[in-house]
């Protein structure tokens, strides 16, 4: 008996293939998990989207009229889709990685030859996959009831992917530091939700007084929601390329931080 991999990994191409298989395996495992617990992973966002649609879009929206010249029901749609993407990307990685830490099956990956950047990438890809699945479901719900235009599909895709990667990485970092299940719910509840609600999901910051408008500009979610909204409706409170630059910086910084922390194994290895 011998190991094909041990001898083969000396060759760069074989090493690259082994890493790719490892990455895909993490992604498959995340997919299996999402499907296995779909009432927790997919269903809640579909239900919440429908509730938002009925209450904010239909009941309250009619009284508000338009925002930036767009019917309110259409105006909030991209923000609410983005909210579902953000929350699901974050929650997928934080709960999956912390669950693996808690159940000790993270050791399956730690003893394997996969480098930290592949492990981080695999978990992040899992978060993006769930964000995309939920995003599609929520979009489908909205498009069933409204005629949501799609002006710039490439911008929509790019904004959704970068946002999803950013919050998947955020979830990874949260899980690395968490010592209890309480600690994986603190950030989503007390940081993420307020940032989303003040990030221009329900309103244009141009409707705010100057001080509130300036304050809103420090909220990173504002840039993500507005670039995404621009893709659908062609309106944005901020410069779209500026928004993409911020997202790229966020992705880079968080990815490096996640890989370095996993390499140092903070909170995982003794």
């Amino acid at each position: 008996m011998n190991t094909v991999v041990a001898s083969d990994t000396a060759r760069p191409r074989a090493l690259g293939r082994a890493r790719w298989i490892g990455f895909v395996t993490i992604l498959i495992r995340e997919f299996q998990r999402i499907i296995r617990i779909w009432p927790q992973t997919i269903l809640p966002s579909a239900v919440t989207a429908t509730l938002y649609l009925v209450i904010f879009g239909s009941v309250i929206g009619r009284r508000i009229g338009t925002m930036d010249g767009i019917p309110y029901m259409l105006y909030i749609a991209p923000g609410l889709i983005m909210q579902a993407v953000i929350i699901n990307s974050y929650n997928n990685v934080v709960s999956s990685f912390y669950g693996a830490k808690f159940g000790r099956h993270i050791e399956e990956l730690l003893v394997s030859p996969l480098p930290s950047w592949i492990i981080v990438s695999g978990y992040v890809a899992g978060g993006v996959m769930r964000g995309a699945m939920v995003g599609v479901v929520v979009s489908a719900v909205w498009m069933f009831f409204t005629r949501l235009p799609v002006l710039h599909p490439t911008i929509i895709m790019a904004a959704a992917v970068l946002t999803s990667v950013t919050f998947s990485l955020g979830g990874f970092l949260n899980a690395m530091f968490a010592r209890s299940f309480d600690q994986i719910s603190i950030i989503p509840t007390f940081v993420l939700t307020p940032l989303i609600y003040f990030g221009g999901v329900f309103y244009s910051i141009n409707t705010l007084p100057a001080w509130a408008r300036h304050l809103s500009l420090v909220d990173p979610i504002l840039y993500m929601v507005n670039s995404f909204r621009f893709g659908f409706l062609g309106v944005s409170d901020v410069g779209v390329w500026y928004a993409f630059a911020i997202m790229l910086v966020a992705v880079t910084v968080l990815f490096v931080a996640a890989v370095v922390l996993l390499d140092r194994s903070s909170g995982i290895r003794e």
């Binding site: 008996m1 094909v4 395996t25 099956h105 050791e107 394997s112 003794e270």
Partner: protein
């Protein structure tokens, strides 16, 4: 080539506990090696460092020549590990667990499925392959971890208490399986509290105590260090008092059971001849305790006294 080579390995935990105090150890390729020691001796720390789950404080370790500092990926590719604690996702099925584990080692999925069938069948888990693994018995969970560790066909298999809590029938079938794996060329390092297991399976042995190796020898050499052994004899006829056996310390446990201590200078033939001369018929003979257990206790007690 050495499967495992360790020099000057130390580990000091954050709480100040020095778990390893400069360990030097080598295990030859193809060996079936026992690493024994009392609880807290440093066995799991040592295995943790080799498998990269614990960070060493100082020293060097290499697996088949791959240094864990310079060539960690290659070193890890050579190792399969069966940990002491259950550490798979208990919501996943055995088949999913082993196929995914192969993927983490770069094994293509089709090959992984074929190997999953091979190892799950060999370890009598094939019928349970689709069940949630949390529903498996303790013995099945242990076998699942062995199957998982073998999926990438490692050159070095490290088993940390693989048969803990497993009934004797399953344990013996696992021994046979491990012997066969070893005979096909896989080096095996085994830690266990069942010293009968180590004596039966392993050719070489190291005993670790308080973070230091206190003995490292061939199993047969180590067992020869035992100067006296106590045998338990079952007698056909009842005795009222111990028989007069000059030179042999004797104790009558009950009227049909005799304990006799024999040194390495004496022999069992002579003992039987004397018993026969006294008209005492022996119907069975066994060691009072496992020989390895006896020498293990003596070495550890000697270490504690020092």
């Amino acid at each position: 080539m050495n499967a495992l080579s360790i020099q000057g390995l130390t580990k000091v935990y954050g709480n100040g506990v020095q778990a390893l105090k400069g360990i030097d150890l080598s295990v030859e390729e193809g060996d079936f090696f026992a690493l024994l020691g009392p609880n807290g001796a440093g066995k799991t720390t040592l295995i943790g460092i080799v498998t990269s789950l614990v960070r060493k404080t100082s020293g060097h370790a290499s697996i088949f020549g791959h240094d864990i500092d310079d060539a960690l990926e290659q070193a890890k590719s050579c190792i399969g590990v069966v940990p002491q604690e259950i550490n798979f996702n208990q919501f996943e099925s055995p088949e999913t667990i082993v196929v995914n584990q192969a993927g983490f080692y770069g094994i293509p999925r089709a090959l992984a499925r074929a190997r999953a069938e091979q190892y799950l069948k060999q370890l009598q888990l094939w019928d349970k392959r689709k069940h949630a693994s949390r529903a498996l018995s303790g013995g099945m969970k242990r076998r699942l971890m062995i199957a998982r560790a073998l999926m990438h066909e490692p050159r070095l298999l490290i088993l940390d208490e693989p048969t803990a809590g497993v009934d004797i029938e399953v344990r013996r079938s696992m021994w046979e399986f491990l012997r066969a794996i070893n005979q096909r060329g896989t080096t095996i390092i085994l830690t266990t509290h069942y010293l009968e297991e180590a004596e039966s399976l392993c050719r070489n042995i190291a005993i670790i105590d308080r973070g230091q190796i206190i003995a490292r020898d061939r199993m047969s050499n180590l067992l020869r260090r035992l100067h006296t052994e106590t045998f338990v004899l079952t007698l056909r006829a009842a005795l009222a008092q111990p028989p007069p056996l000059a030179g042999y310390p004797v104790q009558l446990v009950d009227e049909h059971t005799l304990e006799v201590e024999i040194s390495t200078e004496q022999n069992v033939n002579d003992l039987f001849a004397r018993l026969s001369a006294l008209g005492i018929e022996v119907i069975s003979l066994r060691n009072k305790v496992n020989r390895l257990e006896e020498i293990f206790i003596r070495l550890v007690e000697k270490g504690a006294a020092a």
